[in-house]
């Protein structure tokens, strides 16, 4: 008579309804019970359908925040099976909180617990959504700033910023001033903290000159990059992070190679407003 058969716990386990010791016991049992594993997989699929049935449209800000964080979050490398070092694993509900959130999906999933924690997501839990977004934006800006000076292939961060601007609810076109000597299409999103800058109908330059894009905050200027128009007077598209307090995007003509600070008046000015 099996008064206490762990095999009967598959239902509770799939619904995440086992507490600490029961959960440990079941996981140990699962490792050697093939029928249980297969039943669990079907139950987890079933539970997922229950979850999906509760779908609700999330706030727009969630998307921008996730995209911004993704751009600065390293992915775990694939697991190398067979050679991974087994570490002692704490119980799911009283040990490592990251492990507690581990998908129990699939037999043998517990090996997923092995591996580096690149970012302790748990520590972020205490932040409010807005703080999280702000923190992510600051990190994104820091990364973008590094990219400006080191110019590595940092296109991932840029792609995320671009996607964020393209999809954010608060993205708007920021017009250039009337005296600007170019056609501009500047799309700016405050929630992403970023802008996509497209300039065309730009005049040709002598070989010893270059255009340089600046972000101006009051009387401070930060160089974004130097750029040259193609034969049709179209500039390369630039994605850049912005910070709170930035007031203007400006393009000046500088000696080839660029300048540390603007040396001429901007030929294109795009005020940054909320």
């Amino acid at each position: 008579m099996m008064a206490h058969d762990p095999s009967l716990s598959t239902g509770a386990a799939a619904l995440n309804a086992l507490a600490g010791p029961e959960s440990d016991e079941f996981e140990a049992h699962l490792a050697e019970c093939v029928i249980c594993s297969s039943e669990m997989a079907g139950f987890l699929e079933t539970a997922a359908r229950l979850g999906a049935a509760a779908a609700q449209t999330p706030p727009e800000a969630m998307r921008s925040a996730v995209m911004a964080m993704v751009s600065v979050t390293r992915q775990l490398p694939p697991e190398v099976t067979g050679t991974t070092l087994e570490l002692p694993v704490q119980g799911r509900h009283h040990g490592d909180p990251d492990a507690a959130s581990e998908p129990a999906a699939g037999p043998g999933a517990q090996t997923e617990l092995v591996g580096a924690k690149v970012i302790d997501l748990n520590s972020r839990r205490r932040f409010s959504g807005r703080l999280l977004l702000a923190a992510a934006a600051v990190i994104a800006i820091a990364i973008a700033a590094v990219a400006i000076f080191k110019t590595p292939d940092n296109t991932d961060a840029n792609l995320a910023l671009k996607n964020c601007v393209l999809s954010a609810a608060d993205t708007h076109v920021q017009p250039a001033t009337d005296d600007s000597q170019a056609t501009s299409n500047v799309r700016l999103s405050n929630s992403c903290g970023a802008a996509i800058i497209e300039l065309s109908n730009v005049g040709p330059l002598p070989a010893d000159k270059t255009y340089q894009l600046w972000i101006i905050a009051g009387d401070q200027s930060r160089s974004v990059e130097t750029m040259l128009p193609d034969g049709n007077g179209t500039m390369p598209v630039v994605v850049t992070a912005l910070q709170v307090g930035d007031t203007l995007l400006g393009v000046t003509v500088e000696p080839a190679g660029g300048s540390a600070q603007p040396t001429t008046a901007p030929v294109v000015k795009v005020p940054i407003t909320a």
């Binding site: 509770a12 619904l15 995440n16 079907g42 359908r49 992915q75 409010s128 991932d156 840029n158």
Partner: protein
């Protein structure tokens, strides 16, 4: 820093050339290789489910949003660990969403919050939510229909465990039913639900 945008919509950047509908598993495959455009598509396919489940369990929209962010970021971070031979992407993601939400519930609740009285009122609330859920989505209708095919005890046990994040011991107290019975009802309820939903056994 330069980035030339050829396509009007970044999400097209790495879509496969075919016209077939991209599955979540295919998206996961691309995401595991660092494809952020694929991740954006996966987000659009999954975020409402993740957020909705977190909202259902936690009730508080702000907390649900935080969990939604955490889970979607975990999907990105752990994409290489997803193995389609073990289960669907939906199952993998929703398991994470449920675990994260329940973690919050359990860590926030002191033992005194979980007394019998609290459990009883929650049962009533939860039943109301199920009854009030007016949704046209086929997915939801099918789940509602299948939940309706369960016995009351099966359905209440599953609702409390899954949507309220109760442990089976808490479910037993809330329903004034022996633990062994709850354990069995969770399992046979899920078997019936699985077969009703057409999930392969």
């Amino acid at each position: 820093m330069e980035l030339v945008i050829n396509e009007p919509d970044g999400s097209q950047a790495s879509a496969s050339g075919t016209n077939t509908v991209e599955t979540a598993e295919q998206m996961m495959g691309l995401v595991s290789k660092g494809d952020q455009a694929a991740f954006a598509r996966l987000y659009d396919a999954m975020s409402a489910r993740v957020f909705g489940l977190a909202r259902r369990i936690l009730r508080d929209p702000a907390q649900a949003e935080e969990v939604g962010q955490e889970v979607m970021l975990e999907v990105w971070r752990r994409a290489s660990r997803f193995d389609a031979s073990r289960g669907s992407a939906l199952s993998w993601i929703m398991t994470m969403a449920h675990a994260r939400s329940v973690d919050r519930v359990r860590s926030a609740q002191s033992a005194t919050d979980r007394d019998h009285k609290y459990a009883s009122t929650t049962v009533e609330r939860d039943v109301d939510v199920v009854a009030d859920a007016v949704e046209t989505s086929l997915e939801r209708k099918q789940v509602q229909r299948c939940l309706g095919s369960l016995t009351d005890l099966q359905r209440e046990s599953i609702n409390l465990a899954y949507y309220s994040g109760f442990t089976q011991a808490e479910v037993a107290v809330a329903l004034k039913t022996p633990l062994g019975t709850v354990k069995t009802r969770l399992r046979d309820g899920l078997i019936r639900l699985r077969d009703c939903l057409g999930v392969p056994a």
